[in-house]
Amino acid sequence: MSHHKLEVKDLHYIYPDGHKAVNDMSFCIYHGESVGIIGANGAGKSTLLMLLMGVLFPCQGEVIVGDVHVTKKTLPFIRQRLGMVFQDPDDQLFMTTVYDDVAFGPRNYKLEEKEVENRVLQALDIVGILHLKDRAPFKLSGGEKRAAAIASVLSMQPDILVMDEPTAGLDPKSRRRVMGLLKSFEHTRIITSHDLDMVFDLCERTIVIKDGEIAAQGLTSEILVNAELMDSCGLEVPLALQNCPVCGIRKTVKQPRKKGNDETP
């Protein structure tokens, strides 16, 4: 199981213009865990994701997936293990039909066309849009686009899913559907979002980022209720945990569902 572990050690990244986007971050994410990464705009979330995926390379420190260090040479392996769902599905769905899009990854790994087909149909089935396989991406609704983007990553059969704002721009029903879908996955999940209610619902553990540094990490149920911490990081306590706006009564907080065996101390 150790190869599903994702470890970040002393990570530093400075943009060419001198902006220190990531400053000495270290954390470890274990097999089957679901971890939320939250922080205000410009805190360094996107840069961190790019470093995890090997789109950017750190100035100092390292990213280790399983036992493999992320370097230029190991990229093909890393990218098979890690699948990333972009914030804007339009960036991810660049082919003319949903089918071709979901098949893009497997075809690049030179799989047999029969196997490609199996994987595409399976991935589309999991996200529940098998009937849309011949559609053009621009004909899809926001929720369908999101599902297609997730399928395009699932067809690569990754162990770890990295998701950037998976619920952004969705209507409440579509948001629920995507959340239900994410909950059903057994992959290790890393989710960045401003949708703190979603993070509260889906992630056992949360890492809070502020100005390129880790401000706090720990159980979601402890981090998200800490109003002082949240406020200092440009965030706020999820609506579900705030006082009822009508009667002012404090809601009882349900512990988020615990899953996976290893919990970080």
Binding site: F86, F94, N108, E113, M156
Partner: protein, 269 residues
Amino acid sequence: MSNIINSLYNIRLLDDLARKETAIHKIHPLMKLLTTVVYLTVVVSFGKYEIGSLLPLFFYPVMVFALAELPVKPILLRVLFVAPLIIGIGILNPLFDHQVFYLGGITISRGWVAFFSIFIKCGLTVTAAMLLIATTGMDGLAAALRMLKIPRLFVLQLLLTYRYISVLMEEVARILRAYSLRAPEQKGVHRNAWGSLAGQLILRTFDRAQRVYEAMCLRGFTGEYNTGGYERIRVWDLAYLAGWVSFFAITKIYNIPMFIGSLLTGVVK
């Protein structure tokens, strides 16, 4: 503004039509492409005073319209859209060519004959191109191009352009809406805003291209465009091509309307 909405509507309509499943839609894309090319060549190969022998070529679009169950109106509307341009060039014919002749007791100027010939050719060629895309779709066409050994790089780039037209058009529509709401009674974009308005969009476009590139790399893209296998060409597909090509050849060699006309008038006599 309405321009953009029309264009988007047009692309979506053709994309929808291409996903129908009629006998014509099921024919191999390459055969449809070749049929169209031969058809266009035959249409434009007729001289400038020919109208009669062009008429049998109407059979092709009519058959495709009917067999592929395509709506006639939106496609013909598009043809009318381009017509003014052709009329502009064609209308000069009657001005420059005054020679007249008599047809069934009516005096007709040769220039007008040339004008109508151009007009008919325009209608036929434009319709044929639209019918090709409405029965084949962009992905089918891309497959046909790859079979013709067009470099993958170009095909991929063509598909990407097609894919992002709707994304960028919507973006432009939003920008123009925002502009016009704050600049009432302006016909177009003022000169002061030319560079920044389109320039901002370019910068965003570059960023988007960067993200698309990242999305491609994360799924194993290394500069090579890998596609699935080709659809196999069946005997029926070949028969479709052969059938039409021989029909076009016959219309090219024999003047069919004249034959029918003579037969009728001759028999009547």
